[in-house]
């Protein structure tokens, strides 16, 4: 009995520490697992963040692709616009060219011409039934090439057209506005009729309102023709006149023939005309007269018809009679009716 006791007790006694150790290790694995990092929640957050980031990356890609595509479209539109502008420019040139050809077809072949970077001049002979003369078509590239010149550059003085042309070194010249004699202080002065503008300044001391059919015609600072009847200084100077003279009457305005005073209508006389085509080119016409073997002159009514045929949009009658003179390239081309050039108060010259 005692031995049995020892056989049971002693092993139990001996194994007691191991049993305690074993008991303490029971569930250790599960407890040890508790030491694992709580990554599940973090993982979920990271996954969620990752999905957002990847979605954002896709959006950024789409955005970039869209922008790049838009940039390409802009460039393509730019190319198309450039092409359209280029074509439009070509069509305009064609249109200008056709108009130029139509004008030239009406004027016939030029007898002389001149071209510089400031101006292009073509000179034509006018040979109609009963009258002869010369026409200059002037294309201005620089408004400064047109100049109104007082006789000897002095108000009250006179000068022939060829003298004014030679003195200023001009290539073309015609006589200018009308004039009248005025005795002041015992001295006779030749004064321009109406208003005369040179280099943007009114030459006559006081503005002269249009009286009857007296007009002012000239060019503005951009080289465009201006003209009409002006009754106050502000309305004239408001147009920024650069050069201009006065006479009467207006022949064509906005392409429409204007009423001509009866006393001017049917008389054949030497004439000087300045006008403008629709494309801005100027036309200067001098018609000889009072020479039955050469040219009898032309009535203003007939001239209106001629100007309309030529396609002139604006036409102004300048001083005519013995004053009408046409000088080109240093030579008086027409035959002034006085048999020689008449000194006049103003001349219009085209500088080379």
């Amino acid at each position: 009995m005692r031995q049995v006791f020892y056989l049971l007790i002693i092993p139990l006694f001996l194994l007691a520490p191991f049993m305690g150790l074993g008991a303490s290790l029971v569930g250790f694995d599960e407890k040890a697992q508790a030491l694992a990092l709580p990554v599940q929640d973090i993982n979920n957050e990271v996954n969620s963040l990752g999905e957002s980031v990847f979605a954002l990356r896709e959006s950024a890609r789409v955005m970039t692709d869209t922008i790049v595509e838009q940039e390409k479209e802009y460039q393509e539109q730019q190319r198309i616009l450039q092409e359209l502008a280029s074509r439009s420019h070509e069509y305009k040139q064609d249109s200008d060219q056709i108009y130029e050809e139509r004008i030239l077809a009406m004027l016939g072949p030029p007898i002389d011409s001149y071209r510089s970077n400031r101006v292009e001049i073509k000179v034509f002979k006018l040979d109609e039934l009963g009258y002869r003369g010369y026409i200059a078509k002037v294309k201005l590239f620089d408004p400064g090439a047109v100049k109104v010149v007082l006789g000897k550059d002095t108000l009250g003085q006179t000068e022939t057209t060829s003298s004014a042309v030679a003195r200023t070194g001009a290539i073309l010249g015609i006589n200018g506005g009308g004039f009248y004699s005025s005795v002041q202080g015992g001295r006779t002065r030749i004064m321009p009729i109406g208003n005369t503008v040179i280099d943007g300044k009114l030459v006559n001391r006081d503005f002269s309102p249009s009286n009857g059919d007296v007009f002012f015609a000239g060019i503005d600072r951009k080289g465009k023709m201006i003209g009409g009847r002006f009754y106050d200084k502000a309305s004239l100077m408001g147009l920024n006149p650069w050069q201009g003279v006065s006479f009467l009457p207006i022949l064509i305005e906005n392409g429409q023939p204007q009423p001509v005073p009866k006393e001017w209508k049917t008389t054949k006389q030497p004439r000087t005309i300045i006008g403008e085509y629709a494309n801005g080119d100027f036309i200067m016409i001098v018609v000889d007269g009072r020479q039955s073997d050469w040219s009898s002159g032309v009535t203003l009514e007939r001239l209106q018809i001629k100007l309309a045929e030529l396609g002139v949009k604006e036409g102004y009658n300048l001083d005519g009679g013995g004053s009408s003179t046409f000088v080109f390239n240093g030579k008086v081309l027409n035959r002034p009716s006085d048999g020689r050039e008449r000194p006049v108060a103003t001349n219009i010259v085209i500088l080379p």
């Binding site: 990092l37 730019q78 392409g255 396609g311």
Partner: protein, 126 residues
């Protein structure tokens, strides 16, 4: 165990055979006990080490997974930065292109006006 014969001159042995058996038994039991302790130590240590190693591995795997995800996100963010930078440049270029486009439109408009004027002039041709 054979019994030792005692002589009169021999000192009387203080250790009886029974005691010797008992001592041997105790020694044996102690030896077994020590062996069991050592064995138990190794078994317990092995068990604990394995458990901890398992936790370490699990943690390492999780950390590695997160690291990969973060690397992937970092790459995506770099791509976004690059895309935004490119977009910014393209937008800047687009701004200039748009300006040029407007200028081209204005130029075309002007050209068309000139063409219209020219055609109007042509209408008045003789």
């Amino acid at each position: 165990m054979p019994k030792t014969e005692q002589t009169p001159n021999d000192p009387v042995s203080t250790t009886s055979p029974e005691t010797t058996v008992k001592r041997s038994t105790v020694f044996l039991v102690l030896a077994v006990w020590v062996l069991l302790v050592i064995g138990g130590y190794y078994v317990g240590k092995l068990y604990i080490d394995r458990s901890i190693q398992s936790v370490h591995q699990t943690n390492a795997v999780h950390i590695q997974t997160m690291q990969n995800q973060l690397d992937s996100m970092a790459g995506a963010i770099e791509e976004i930065q690059l895309a935004l930078s490119n977009a910014d440049q393209t937008l800047a270029t687009s701004g200039i292109t748009q300006e040029n486009l407007n200028k081209k439109i204005e130029a075309l408009d002007k050209q068309l006006q000139l063409l219209a004027e020219s055609l109007a002039v042509l209408k008045e041709a003789p």
